[in-house]
């Protein structure tokens, strides 16, 4: 892994592409758009930049049961078909507001499987984002070896 240590977000971008050399799966592009809608790229890295979509593909493949994998695939398929039906576009081509609307549609859907899919993909995106080097070092003062513990310090 090649890292600069100072400038952000440039190293975050770099770190990302180099650490996830895993083969791209069939859903990589779509997932990239989904996670970017959930946690967008702004003046700080979004979920796609930190590689959340690649993590999710790996988790679906390695850690889910067949049934859960199928349910996840169905959820993605629903996003694809809704984008086509409502906007005659792929999900990736939608404006970010339209992407968010589609996702919130699933969140508020009366069908439990829609709601479950939304929760799952959002949960995985957050798990990936909040475990990233960017998030932990820039937003949580993370250090692997603090060397100390203070039991009682004021909250600043």
């Amino acid at each position: 892994m090649v890292l600069g240590t100072t400038a952000l977000p440039s190293w975050a971008y770099q770190w990302n592409t180099q650490s996830f050399t895993a083969a791209q799966g069939p859903n990589t592009e779509l997932l990239g758009a989904v996670v970017n809608a959930i946690i967008p790229e702004t003046d700080s890295p979004g979920a796609k930049t930190i590689g959340a979509h690649l993590y999710i593909e790996r988790m679906v493949k390695d850690c889910m049961s067949k049934e859960d994998q199928q349910a996840f695939q169905n959820g993605l398929q629903k996003l694809v078909s809704s984008a086509l039906k409502n906007h005659q576009k792929t999900f990736q081509q939608l404006s970010s507001q339209d992407q968010i609307n589609l996702l919130t549609g699933l969140q508020n859907s009366s069908m439990p499987e829609d709601n479950q899919f939304f929760k799952r993909i959002k949960g995985l995106t957050i798990a990936s984002y909040t475990s990233s080097e960017y998030f932990l070092t820039q937003h949580r003062n993370y250090t692997i070896a603090p060397g100390f513990y203070h039991g009682c310090v004021p909250v600043q």
């Binding site: 959930i38 946690i39 988790m59 996702l103 909040t130 080097e133 949580r140 203070h150």
Partner: protein, 572 residues
């Protein structure tokens, strides 16, 4: 290490053989080598060298493919091993996989094993409390089947001996029921742990002390630790990966390299001990029969004394499998009780709560430890409708709230927030179980493993005393947490937890004065075969409520030095 030449018996002959390289085997090796004995340590698993064989030790959280989660394949293949709290993506390589080493559960038993050099000393939870006189005297006072042949006074100097070398962090609390040791600087309690400690002191007038945990971490390393090549604990709390600093005590970081440096150690990994060879003529054990785990070749090694430190269940199996004309039921097993009286610690429940006070404060850094509530039930006399008692872990921390509301920019803003929630309070229960004849391990009559050793059949269960004690813990803790002003108090019984998952299985080859009811004498020698010593968990007459490893270490060092003295007197 010099190459192994197995061609001549002379080269397969040592002064001492130690079976197992875990926490007690490492100590046997160190003490015997320090005393000039040429010592062979046999380890059934692969070699794990300090630092170089800790592949995940320096990985950052984001460098794990599944961010620490286990794959479905791993979980499906290992329904038992993956129940262990320390079995994660970063440490799975240090655990025995269910299919590699099958065993038979007459009753559910979660047998957690680490077959490698260092054994489970790489994986242990590092809690290290001395037993008190009340713990040693308990079984006799309460009418258990078996009583300890030693007192606290017998073991106290050996506790000191191992504490100084291993490096134990703790506070001198001056408690009769939990004697102080040779302590390095203690960890600090969090504000709310201090608050709880003070409240308990006020309400119970000192009868329910709460202290900072005593643990095998180098908080303030001394020259003896630097000499081992160890350095100060960096408080990463990633111990299950193996520690590159040697910040916590393990055989790999401490006793084994020390023994190696004496020039007296020969370490042979991949060596499954099938049985101990008994010499009918001399009436002593002459060596061990080893199956090389890679080549399946049978090799015999010889020594004047043998230390069995294969971990409780395997130590039982090896002795039961050591059959001879003199000992048809297993070496030393004249009374037929070997394998019986397997006991363990009951971790079957826990508590959680919240505290809405002290919101102006938080903790900072990481602490590989927690607070500890020493046993307060039935310590000085019998007080309840159950026998013995329990210790409890206690901790209070203040996490940042993870606000996951919204989507898009709104969600992102929420995730970046650094707002602290209430204090989160947790406690775990550690109950003493009563050793019983009906809890046993025995050899299967026909099924053998890949190395020709009969499979273990385990029949170990909880009893009514355990259930009563769990209920009492929940009741007492509820009272205590309420008195401290905590809210949202919940008991968290662990329904899927079976005996074994405590990883504190003990007994089967227990110490005692009477050869009719015990296998070992007060020096951990087999009553009927004096040059065989058992100093791991198998030797424990009862389990009390302390984490057991420190006592195994002290028993081992004591027995090893006795063995050396007896050898010098030509008594062995």
């Amino acid at each position: 290490m010099s190459n192994f030449n197995i061609d001549s018996k002379k080269q397969r002959t040592f002064d001492a053989i130690v079976v197992g390289s875990g926490i007690s085997g490492g100590w046997a090796a160190k003490e015997l080598c320090d005393n000039g004995l040429k010592t062979l340590v046999l380890e059934r698993g692969r070699d794990v060298k300090h630092i170089v064989d800790y592949p995940t030790t320096l990985k950052e959280p984001w460098e794990f493919d599944h961010l620490g989660a286990l794959t479905k394949e791993m979980k499906d293949a290992n329904p038992i091993a993956t129940k262990c709290y320390a079995f994660n993506e970063d440490s799975s390589h240090f655990f025995v996989k269910d299919k590699e080493h099958p065993y038979i559960q007459e009753k559910p038993f979660d047998w957690i094993r680490g077959y490698q050099v260092g054994g489970k000393s790489l994986l242990w939870a590092r809690g290290t409390q001395r037993w008190s006189k009340y713990d040693f005297e308990g079984p006799a006072r309460d009418g258990f089947d078996n009583h300890w042949p030693i007192t606290y006074q017998d073991l106290a100097p050996w506790y000191s001996h191992v504490e100084i070398f291993a490096g134990i962090s703790g506070n001198k609390d001056g408690l009769e029921q939990l004697p102080d040791g040779e302590f390095l600087k203690p960890h600090e309690q969090s504000c709310v742990e201090k608050h709880f400690t003070a409240e308990m002191k006020k309400h119970y007038k000192g009868s329910r002390p709460v202290i900072i945990g005593r643990c095998a971490h180098l908080t303030d390393p001394q020259p003896i630790h630097f000499k081992q090549g160890r350095a100060q604990c960096q408080q990463r709390d990633l111990c299950q990966r193996g520690c590159p600093y040697g910040g916590y005590f393990s055989s790999n970081a401490s006793t084994l390299p020390w023994a190696q440096n004496t020039g007296n150690l020969t370490l042979r990994p991949n060596s499954v001990v099938h049985s101990i060879i008994y010499d009918e003529k001399s009436g002593k054990a002459s060596g061990v029969k080893v199956i090389d785990s890679k080549t399946k070749e049978e090799i015999h090694f010889y020594a004047k004394i043998i230390f069995l430190n294969a971990a409780t269940i395997n130590t039982n199996l090896i002795l039961l499998n050591s059959k001879s004309h003199r000992f048809p039921n297993g070496l030393g097993n004249d009374n037929g009780l070997m394998g019986h009286y397997i006991h363990f610690h009951n971790f079957h429940t826990g508590m959680s709560a919240e505290y809405e006070g002290m919101l102006e404060s938080k903790t900072e850094g990481i602490r590989p430890n927690g607070s500890y509530i020493p046993r307060f039930r039935n310590v000085f006399k019998q007080e309840t409708d159950f026998l013995r008692g329990y210790a409890a872990g206690f901790s209070a921390r203040r996490p940042i709230i993870s606000n996951q509301e919204g989507i898009g920019q709104e969600l992102k803003d929420h995730l970046f927030q650094k707002k602290y929630g209430n204090w989160i309070v947790g406690s775990h229960f550690m109950g003493e179980t009563i050793p019983k004849h009906s809890n046993y391990v025995k050899l299967d009559a026909s099924k053998k493993d890949d190395w020709g050793v009969p499979l273990a059949r385990l029949n170990v269960d909880f009893d009514d005393n355990d259930r009563k004690m769990e209920q009492d813990y929940q009741d007492q803790m509820t009272e205590m947490l309420t008195l401290a002003g905590f809210k949202n108090i919940k008991a968290n019984p662990k329904k899927t937890w079976n005996p074994g998952l405590d990883i504190h299985e003990m007994g089967g080859v227990i110490m005692g004065n009477d050869p009719k009811t015990s296998q070992l004498n007060k020096w951990n020698q087999l009553h009927h075969c004096k040059n065989v010593f058992v100093t791991d968990g198998a030797s424990m007459t009862s389990n009390s409520t302390q984490n057991p490893s420190l006592t195994y270490m002290a028993l081992t060092a004591r027995a090893a030095n006795y063995a050396v003295a007896e050898l010098k007197k030509k008594n062995l």
